[in-house]
């Protein structure tokens, strides 16, 4: 029989109040005096909780119906959740929150960055940093809005260099302007699409020659040291040596993020040991990153980011820039260590102190705190932070830890494994790069710092910056520098294995504590005097985790703890 329609103007609000006043579901008449705090939750709510934590969303009605009437959640449900692709994505989010690895630094500088300008309907690309050497004058001019190939006053000379029109003298220097040419850029998948690029920038010459002087010889155009040296060096074939913010820089940022997440995938759902996350030499490169590190990383001014690919970084795959969806694993050499030396980590934490501090938080579970008492018997001033008042409270720990990351340049990804530890003179330091590049005082001062000899201050070694304080007063710096982050990670991994259940600061114990906090939405109770002490349960999970090294098994153990299955 149809129900009569209720028409009450105030019933709407009254009904809402009634619902609210009745409190949470589960408080039926028979149970209204029973507090549900800390009680085991119904199986549907447990399913929902697991689904949210492991899959990042709620179950659908069919999944609820599948567990109707069961007393316990079948292991097959948990297995399915842990095997799902959604779990992989959840673990990505979890590790991003742990590592904060969303770096977005500026990857260009005016020397090799192409910028568009609209001139009479034509969008013309040129660089800012090379205008002076290309066109003279006051160094601010781009090319003319003329086709270099069809304009009778322009064209190319016998050496293939663009012919430019003279425009007199400006700021005491002759001004000459060329036209534009149509070029297919490397970032454009459609080979028929072209851009209008100033002809000087569009040059494809591979090398240039310095006829005399200390740098006499032939040098590569595909390096930052070529900028400002010769007007015959351009962006190279398909503009390969130049960058554009949108879309290239954005794509490189995205690829760096994806690269570190793929390494995380390996250790969470890819079947690799979880500790591989901080030890593996394997890294994934797609076309975007390959192109960046082959052609663009070494173009950045030395005073800015230094992302110069080194031989010990491994062999880059043969991929074109547009192969963005093709990811190829490579084996890195040197002191590479899992996610800790991937660009996304090194560029998110650009100082070795920052890298060490994030490592300490994420994998050692420790945080620096300022001292609560007055610091005495210390140096009130000075550069050495391990002896300076107040500073030393953290820096006596932080500086040796930062030394582990010393073989990676600060503000950059360049690994210094292949670099000389020191040069004995400034001249040698300036010429310290590979012989195909000219000497550079800027390069020397970017990577090295003069350190006065203790016996004779007039003698100065040019040491890698991370070794500035490698002396008898700081005996940890040199061995930590030599060992690299891999040794740091391996030592933490071994702590758990050596100490078993007591591995309080071991890699696996800390990982279990972080996971516990993630799943329980609170820190574990580790107060041994507490009646609700949870340290033993965590130690058992961590001890097993140190043995099987399987993240999914650790999570399985944690979500089976009674605490996870209780109401708040």
């Amino acid at each position: 029989m149809p129900r009569p329609r209720v028409v009450l103007g105030t019933t709407w609000a009254a009904a809402l109040i009634a619902l609210a006043a009745l409190g949470a579901p589960g408080t039926s008449r028979a149970e209204e005096d029973a507090c549900r705090l800390h009680q085991p939750i119904p199986i549907e709510r447990l399913l929902r909780r697991l689904s949210i934590d492991l899959r990042g969303t709620v179950p659908d009605v069919a999944e609820y119906e599948a567990v109707a009437g069961l007393d316990e959640l079948p292991d097959s449900v948990l297995d399915a959740f842990l095997a799902s692709d959604e779990f992989r994505l959840e673990m990505r989010r979890y590790h991003e929150a742990l590592l904060w690895t969303n770096s977005a630094p500026s990857l260009d500088s005016v020397g090799f960055s192409l910028s568009p300008e609209t001139v009479a309907g034509n969008v013309i690309y040129s660089t800012f940093g090379r205008r002076a050497i290309y066109r003279g004058g006051n160094g601010t001019h781009r090319c003319q809005n003329k086709n270099q190939l069809t304009d009778p006053a322009l064209g190319y000379d016998a050496n293939g260099k663009p012919i430019a029109q003279d425009f007199g003298v400006e700021a005491g220097k002759p001004l000459r302007l060329e036209g534009w040419v149509e070029v297919h850029p490397y970032w454009e998948p459609d080979p028929s699409k072209t851009l209008k690029v100033c002809a000087f920038e569009a040059q494809t010459t591979a090398s240039y020659t310095i006829p005399s002087g200390v740098d006499a010889g032939t040098h590569s155009c595909a390096h930052v040291t070529a900028q400002g040296k010769s007007d015959t060096c351009g962006c190279g074939p398909d503009l390969q040596n130049c960058i554009i913010r949108d879309p290239v820089q954005l794509a490189v940022h995205r690829a760096m993020r994806e690269q570190i997440l793929r390494t995380i995938d390996d250790s969470t759902t890819g079947g690799k040991p979880y500790s591989d996350i901080v030890t593996t030499k394997r890294a994934y490169y797609n076309g975007t990153l390959t192109h960046y590190f082959k052609h663009l990383g070494q173009q950045q001014q030395v005073s800015l980011l230094q992302n110069v690919w080194q031989e010990s970084d491994g062999a880059l795959p043969e991929l074109a820039y547009v192969d963005a969806n093709t990811w190829v694993p490579i084996e890195r050499g040197g002191v590479h260590a899992g996610v800790l030396t991937l660009p996304a980590y090194l560029l998110r934490f650009q100082t070795n102190r920052g890298r060490a501090n994030r490592y300490r938080v994420a994998f050692e579970g420790r945080y620096f705190e300022p001292p609560s008492t007055k610091d005495e018997n210390c140096m009130p001033v000075g550069d050495d932070l391990t002896t300076r008042c107040v500073c030393r409270g953290c820096h006596t720990t932080l500086e040796p830890l930062a030394s582990y990351f010393g073989q990676f340049v600060e503000s950059g990804t360049t690994m210094l494994f292949d670099f000389a530890d020191h040069f004995t003179t400034k001249t040698l330091c300036d010429r310290g790069q590979l012989p195909e590049f000219p000497s550079s005082a800027a390069w020397c001062s970017r990577y090295y710092v003069p350190v006065a000899d203790l016996a004779d201050p007039d003698l100065r070694n040019y040491r890698l910056k991370a070794l500035q304080y490698a002396d008898v007063e700081h005996p940890d710096v040199q061995p930590n520098f030599d060992a690299g982050p891999l040794a740091l990670a391996q030592a933490d991994i071994m702590k758990g294995l050596e100490n078993g259940k007591e591995g309080a600061a071991g890699f696996h114990r800390v990982a279990v504590e972080h996971l516990f906090e993630h799943l329980m939405k609170r820190a574990p109770d580790l107060d041994v005097t507490s009646l609700t002490f949870e340290g033993d349960e965590l130690a058992a999970v961590a001890a097993a985790f140190a043995q099987h090294d399987d993240l999914r098994e650790a999570i399985r153990a944690l979500v089976k703890l009674p605490a996870y299955r209780r109401a708040p």
Binding site: T10, A567, P568
Partner: protein, 268 residues
């Protein structure tokens, strides 16, 4: 049924029954009170009726009326609800779901539209929870300027959840109205929306929705179910003449908004 004298709070503010009476006289105020009350419901989690059971005492004045801790801190009996009994085992803490999860969960619950596209909160053509809309304002971390997502439901969060709930529920109701096969509906698969639904059908549909939204399997006599049936009736009664939704669909939209705004949807 246990009885107790009125607490100081009740003396000051009146009983919940009195509050309801006041609410009838001011629909707007009542709505705000109701929203706040629903928001807080999970925190009390059904325990508001028995502050004495945890400590073991069942009678006597409410503890805050006669504090017995003197100024000299000499040993004395503490408030009933803070002493005695076993220490409760620790459970999981209460935190709201992350924005990523909320965005995904609302779409799972809302289902798809007639074209098979997931129903989601739309703001200027974007998903309202995405960073292109209000994701960053709601605190989704980018690990640059924001490195941590708060697990606390802020006023801003509640406001946007309300917006999202009304938008999504309207879409659900509109799409369901056009679905001839009741079994394919997301919001009212168990009850017709042509004013012919029986009490049993209404109850069954509410039970279905509570399961779909909150993951709770409740008895037909459960107070939440009966209260939501009343919400449906109120929404049905308040439906504007000639609106896009039928009065019954309007009622289910009200139930939908109530469930999306429930703390039990956001916390677990």
């Amino acid at each position: 049924m246990k009885t107790r004298p009125p607490t100081r709070r009740e003396t000051r503010h009146g009983t919940s029954q009195e509050t309801r009476q006041e609410a009838r006289s001011s629909p707007l105020a009542a709505g705000l009170v109701a929203l706040a009350a629903v928001t807080l419901a999970a925190a009390v989690a059904g325990c508001q009726a028995d502050e004495a059971t945890h400590g073991g005492a069942t009678t006597g004045p409410a503890p805050w009326e006669q504090p017995e801790v003197d100024a000299e801190a000499t040993p004395s009996v503490g408030p009933d609800d803070l002493v005695g009994g076993d220490t409760a085992p620790l459970g999981r803490s209460v935190r709201r779901m992350r924005l990523d999860t909320l965005q995904a969960a609302m779409s799972v619950v809302a289902g798809t539209d007639l074209d098979g596209k997931p129903i989601e909160w739309k703001v200027n053509g974007q998903n309202g929870f995405s960073d292109a809309a209000f994701g960053k304002a709601l605190g989704r971390p980018d690990y640059q300027s924001t490195t941590e997502e708060s697990g606390v439901s802020s006023a801003l969060y509640l406001k946007f959840v309300g917006d999202a709930a009304r938008d999504v529920c309207t879409q659900m109701a509109k799409n369901d109205q056009l679905r001839g096969d009741a079994s394919t509906r997301a919001l009212f698969p168990k009850a017709p929306v042509d004013a012919s639904a029986t009490e049993a059908q209404l109850t069954e549909n509410v039970q279905y929705l509570v399961l779909r939204f909150l993951g709770l399997r409740l008895a037909a006599t459960d107070s939440v179910v009966t209260s939501l049936v009343a919400v449906h009736a109120a929404g049905e009664g308040a439906a504007p003449e000639g609106g896009e939704l039928s009065p019954a669909a309007e009622g289910w939209r009200g139930v939908c908004v109530t469930l999306f705004e429930s703390p039990l949807f956001h916390n677990d």
